[in-house]
């Protein structure tokens, strides 16, 4: 290509003219429909096919490279095969739809493309690119290799006239006259060139990528071939000769070095010779390497590119038969000291005798790395494992198995790869793709992503028995061996005996009394040992949340001894997508939960808290496999609950209902439970508190706790729990009490306009304030507007807290302001790290968490007129 120092003004005006025409054509093309472009493409294909022979002749005459017949076939492939691939594909407007994913792909043309055309395949590459461009409604400026300019120009003319005659915009294709490197550089850097499609030498590809423009750069290769001992040798040798002599080896995917297993080497070489190849002696190989390879660059000299084998031999002074198809040159290694081991775009192929499969693969890798990274490789073998190992070892966009490399890589003839005349070589070749370049690389594909709410769930234990004496249902649960986990106090109160009496007489029973506190790892592991020793098939957990949580963890570890609590406690955003998976139990055991408090709802929840005292931390495990199999919600076990425990656990239940009700994971299923739990707790909690022997109130509060848990087991909780966890842990305040301190402020906070919204695909708009208003309506609190109703709900909760004699501020707990302020940054940070708020309707900023703590410190400070959404 002619080098010139700088472009003249005249030349720049010429280039700008080309760009202006192409730019206008590209803009006008955007108005065309699918039918328009399909009509034009068909006409172009027919025109190209008609001229395939004459274009081939022109190419051979001008470039003096290749074989007329083969070039004609290439032109046919570039039209017929490419058309066969693109004809039914949509390239305008909506091109693909994935209704199950809610994704629609919409095509957008790129605009004006600058395309380099190689000397080796000029006319076929032009035909191919013109078809792609029109199919995708783009305009092209071609920069052919100067030694192939005339034939490329003619191919462009054929395509252009057919296209414009059938309605394509004028200027859709143009061709640089007397192209120079400065021309290319000017165009590559021009702002109106939207894509560079550089099919050519490594220099052109490098220039394209260096331009800073989006580019498809497709350069040289060095195709290794592994001829493995199980291969169909007759087929393989014919395929290799067919491929390597096709157009005199000008396709950059053609075979370069054949690595042959020792066991079949001699036979393979004989077959090459029998079919018209000349097998070079060591001396001839040395002469050939010296004569055809430029020692400075390591590349094939231009004079040898695409020449006949006999002609090359003659020029090199080798005596071969005139009909020689291929020169086969044995080599003993790869690299600069073996000049022929690189790419040879001519009918010279090197062969290597490998003593083992490992050596064969190693040499193939060497060839691959000697200028062929990312391009093409070929393997002949009947052994799938060999093909797999080869494909893993070799860095190539196309691994052609049991077929010719060059024609195989073009696609559509020997395999179902996409037909192309541009081979993407991936990062190995400095390219952006390993694909066979096709119409999709000429499109900006826009994706319309429709909102797809995730499917939701409502998972609860198999059986829930409730009301007085529900414990009698234990009789119906067959068990050979039952392990009762409880705490010493309940044993003293006689509850344990009540449960024992309900177990079938034939059931062997063992009791483990554990401390009434959050379960420690040590306690859980000791329990598991006893479960194993006892060979239990049923665990009955009789107690509050701590006992039931311990039983859940024991069941988990008993069924899955390898369960790693640390790993299983890993945080997650979506339970369905989290990184860890709970193990399937190897030993099945039924867990029956009988709660003795009315608040945590642990009898139906998939949560379990574990205290790791040795490491001074508490972890929460969440998985539906932790949920008890049976819940027995029998109020006889809560009749003697002390007042403060009634209030604490009761307000925990109320908080569960309120938070599940406004959670971003709320659903009609959880709403039904949340609202019913709220109604029951709001009405019966004060009665149960003030009249502990009121059986109806106790029963209804026990039900409320379980029903609220059904809601939050599936909708989770919110920021109130995050605050309560942080505050309770820091100041050793009971969970219910900590919840109560925050509750009015959290309702007001969630009902106001969020500073940050929480991403919530299952919710339509922000609804927390409206849901609070619905809750107020359900409780009969009155009010006309949403704001009034929310205000009344807050006031009602405050009145309830008063009635339950809760401290109404953090200050009321005796915590000084100085101590509180010192703790505040840690409190806010701890709350922000608590996963409970991940389902809160508004995303809390750390500063907002601090503000909520401050409000709770002062107490009774909820604005009377809330600024509802």
């Amino acid at each position: 290509m002619a080098e010139s120092v700088a472009l003249t003004e005249e030349r720049i005006a010429y280039l700008e003219g080309l760009i202006r025409r192409g730019r206008i054509a590209a803009a006008l093309f955007t108005q065309f429909s699918q039918e328009d472009v399909d009509r034009i493409v068909k006409a172009m294909v027919l025109a190209g096919q008609e001229k395939s022979q004459s274009l081939a002749r022109l190419a051979v005459e001008e470039t003096r490279i290749g074989v007329l017949e083969d070039k004609s076939i290439k032109n046919m492939v570039a039209t017929e095969f490419v058309y066969n691939y693109v004809r039914d594909k949509r390239s305008v407007g909506v091109i693909r739809e994935f209704p199950e994913r809610g994704i629609v792909e919409v095509a957008q043309p790129m605009g004006l493309i600058f395309s380099l055309i190689p000397v080796t395949n000029p006319t076929s590459t032009v035909l191919f690119k013109c078809i792609l461009a029109v199919k995708t409604r783009n305009a092209l400026i071609f920069g052919p290799h100067p030694k192939a300019w005339k034939c490329a120009q003619e191919a462009i003319r054929v395509m252009y006239e057919a296209a414009v005659r059938h309605g394509a915009p004028e200027g859709v294709f143009s061709c640089l006259e007397s192209p120079t490197i400065p021309d290319n550089n000017y165009l590559m850097h021009h702002k109106e060139i939207k894509l560079i499609d550089a099919t050519g030498g490594s220099g052109a590809v490098r220039a394209a990528y260096s331009s800073g423009k989006p580019a498809l750069g497709v350069g040289p290769g060095n195709t290794p071939v592994y001829l493995e001992k199980t291969a169909d040798l007759d087929m393989a040798v014919v395929d290799i000769i067919t491929s390597k002599t096709f157009d005199n080896g000008t396709i950059c995917a053609s075979e370069q070095t054949v690595v042959i297993d020792d066991a079949i080497y001699d036979l393979a070489i004989q077959k090459f010779a029998d079919l018209g190849a000349h097998i070079c002696s060591e001396k001839e190989t040395e002469i050939l390497g010296r004569m055809v390879i430029d020692p400075d660059t390591g590349y094939l000299r231009h004079v040898a590119i695409g020449q006949k084998a006999a002609d090359i031999a003659r020029v090199c002074g080798l005596r071969v038969k005139p009909e020689t198809k291929l020169l086969v040159a044995p080599i003993r290694g790869v690299g600069r000291q073996y000049p022929l081991s690189g790419e040879k775009l001519c009918p010279i192929i090197t062969v290597y005798r490998a003593q083992s499969a490992d050596e064969a693969l190693r040499v193939c890798v060497d060839v691959n790395h000697a200028g062929g990274l990312g391009h093409t490789a070929v393997v002949f073998s009947r052994d799938d494992e060999t093909i797999r190992r080869f494909s893993e070892a070799i860095d190539a966009g196309r691994i052609i198995a049991n077929s010719p490399g060059s024609i195989g890589a073009l696609g559509g003839v020997y395999n179902d790869m996409v037909p192309t005349f541009s081979f993407g070589c991936g990062t190995g070749g400095g390219n952006s793709t390993t694909d066979n370049v096709n119409l999709y690389h000429y499109l900006n594909i826009k994706r319309v992503a429709r909102r797809t709410p995730a499917h939701m769930w409502f998972r609860i234990p198999n059986q829930i028995y409730f009301n007085f004496n529900a414990v009698e249902n234990l009789r119906g649960l067959a068990s050979r061996s039952t392990f009762i986990i409880t705490n010493p106090l309940l044993e003293q109160m006689g509850h344990l005996d009540t449960v024992r009496r309900m177990l079938p007489a034939e059931t062997a029973v063992r009791v483990l009394a554990i401390p009434d506190a959050e379960p420690e790892l040590r306690v859980v592991l000791e329990g598991v040992e006893q479960l194993r020793a006892h060979g239990a098939d049923q665990i009955v957990a009789l107690g509050g949340g701590s006992v039931i949580d311990a039983a859940k963890l024991m069941k988990l570890k008993f069924g899955s001894p390898d369960a790693d609590f640390d790993e299983l406690a890993a945080p997650f955003l979506d339970i369905r997508k989290r990184a860890i998976q709970f193990p399937a139990a190897k030993t099945q055991v039924r867990l029956v939960a009988i709660p003795t408090t009315s608040g945590t709802g642990s009898e139906v929840t998939p949560f379990a808290v574990l205290l790791d005292k040795e490491r001074g931390r508490k972890v929460t495990l969440v998985d539906y496999s932790l949920s008890p199999d049976v819940a027995i919600v029998d109020p006889q076990f809560v009749m003697s609950m002390p007042k403060n425990l009634t209030a604490d656990t009761g307000i925990d239940c109320l908080t569960h209902a309120l938070e599940a009700g406004v959670s971003i994971h709320a659903s009609p299923y959880t709403d039904a439970n949340a609202i019913q739990a709220l109604r029951l707790a709001y009405h019966y909690l004060p009665i149960a508190y003030e009249h502990p022997n009121d059986q109806e109130a106790r029963n209804m509060m026990h039900n409320a706790a379980c029903i609220a848990a059904l809601a939050f087991s599936n909708a989770s909780v919110g920021v109130n729990h995050a605050l309560a966890h942080a505050f309770g842990a820091r100041f050793h305040i009971s969970h219910g009490r900590a919840n109560a301190l925050m509750l009015p402020y959290v309702i007001a906070y969630n009902a106001s306009v969020p500073t940050k919204f929480m991403p919530s695909p299952n919710q339509r708009g922000y609804t927390a304030h409206q849901k609070y208003a619905q809750m107020a309506d359900l409780l009969g609190l009155g009010g006309n507007t949403v704001a009034e109703k929310v205000n009344r709900l807050v006031a009602a909760i405050e009145s309830l807290l008063d009635r339950l004699e809760f401290p109404r501020s953090i200050a009321d707990l005796g915590i000084s302001e100085a101590e509180f302020e010192r703790a505040l940054p840690d409190l806010a940070q701890a709350a922000s790290e608590d996963p409970s708020w991940l389902s809160n309707p508004r995303m809390p900023l750390v500063s907002e968490l601090a503000d909520l703590f401050r409000m709770a410190y002062r107490g009774r400070a909820v604005a009377k007129e809330l600024a509802c959404v």
Binding site: R23, I24, A25, A26, A27, L28, T30, Q31, G111, P169, E170, G171
Partner: protein
């Protein structure tokens, strides 16, 4: 009425030549533009610019508007639905 290069070069150009202030051209009949129409629009924009006339194109369809936008001609006209 047909909107094409000839109309733009003659009738539309006359309107602009004789106008002060603003000229409204009804583009609703124009379904698609071609290269000659683009050229005529460029010349019309030059003429309007020289005469200080604001040219308002009324009812330009989506496809035509996109072409004008891509060719940066949309900056040289005003648009009215």
């Amino acid at each position: 009425m047909t909107i094409d290069a000839e109309w733009l070069e003659t009738e539309a150009a006359e309107k602009i030549s004789g106008a002060t202030g603003e000229v409204i051209l009804d583009f609703s009949p124009l379904a698609r533009v071609d290269a000659t129409t683009v050229g005529a629009l460029e010349r019309l924009a030059d003429l309007a610019g020289n005469r200080g006339v604001r040219v308002v194109l009324r009812a330009v369809n989506r496809d035509v508007y996109k072409v004008l936008k891509l060719l940066k001609l949309s900056d040289r006209f005003a648009f009215l639905n």
